[in-house]
Symmetry: C2
Subunit: 204 residues, 2 copies
DNA sequence: GTCTATAATCCGATAGAC
DNA sequence: GTCTATCGGATTATAGAC
């Protein structure tokens, strides 16, 4: 039994030092961007010398790649579990939206990296991340399509609404946290309602 | 008569060389990010040596600042004109949404810079941009509030919907252009409909 | 005002001692 | 496996000729 997937849970096979480096890189990359962060800053935050990093990751880009891949895989698994957890098509969409929004708020460091640092990966790694992105989007897309087939979602709204719902969730990583900001669960609840409105859907 | 504000229109007081540098920086910063772009890349794209840039801008950050300030000011003016152009509160919201979406698609280079390169500005410049951001958001907020007062928009949806609508428009800069992507005017039209649905509003 | 040349610094990554 | 020390190169920015 795998349980709810987490970023840290993806690192169980790694040495504690490698995990500290990844955690440090998430904070630094998330705050200053990949190119705005030096390997020295990552190593210092992880409590070691700049050289020690290269025992665990061959390049700086490999550090970004590991965070990106892990992050995307967790998102895919989170939305899949959310989709499988409920049978009603409208409730399924709600569960997916809530999972996406909560991830982008709770893990806004990782979320910023996977959504905004894509261009700093090697072309091969970019293609790999693009595939994972499409998997995530297809889970939402299929749930919406099922809702349309069941007559619970308006067909005309569906194509653009899928894109719009992804945007709502992704953009949380940009502004969260902010002044007078709600807690992640509250944002998820509010955005779920807004998503249903865009889809012209009503809960059962 | 000022007409419709544009980025280039804000540069009429500048020397042609300075304008070429700004245009080059928008392309480079927008594609690779501020820290991912060297002053050499900007100067080369503008057709001059790296040193020549410093006759027009004292630092690389000043180049980013000039683009950010101009971009934000154009957005403020665009949404203000959109708001003033129509009297009906619901149509006013539509006009603002359309203006925001079109800007983030048509000028996605500038839009990415003002939305995602904020952290690379000096603290003082960050505060200045934050004020302009709030002005833009307040124009949308006030239009929505007027719609609520007129009984045309559902009051319960208003606070989070404002944030969500801003997110929809801003995130266009991240993904535009993409495969099978609509043209800016079509995206604006579709997102206007989705915004009204979130607000529980109907056109007159 | 633009150029070539370069200063001063910082970067990613490596060498070699322990 | 981590350290100190440093390499080779890129970076932002400047100096000085034209």
């Amino acid at each position: 039994m795998a349980g709810t997937p987490t970023i840290e849970g993806s690192w169980t096979g790694l040495a504690p030092t490698a995990r500290r480096l990844l955690a440090a890189a998430i904070v630094e990359f998330g705050e200053h961007g990949y190119h705005g962060t030096s390997t020295r800053a990552v190593a210092t935050r992880a409590g070691m010398s700049p050289a020690a990093m290269y025992m665990h990751f061959p390049t700086k880009e490999e550090l970004l790649y590991e965070i990106s891949r892990t992050g995307h895989e967790v998102v895919v698994e989170l939305v899949r579990q959310a989709a499988e957890g409920v049978a009603d098509p409208v409730e399924r969409v709600c569960a997916i939206v809530a999972a996406m929004v909560r991830f982008h708020a709770d893990h806004h460091g990782v979320a910023r990296i996977i959504q905004y640092e894509h261009m700093s990966l090697t072309p091969a790694h970019q293609r790999e991340m693009l595939r994972l992105r499409r998997v995530t989007e297809s889970v939402l897309q299929e749930a919406i399509d099922q809702g349309v087939l069941a007559g619970r979602i308006e067909a005309t709204a569906a194509p653009m609404a899928t894109l719009a719902i992804m945007s709502l969730a992704i953009d949380v990583a940009r502004w969260f946290p902010a002044q007078r900001s709600r807690r992640p669960a509250q944002i998820a609840e509010a955005y779920t309602v807004l998503a249903l409105r865009m889809l012209g859907a009503a809960r059962a």
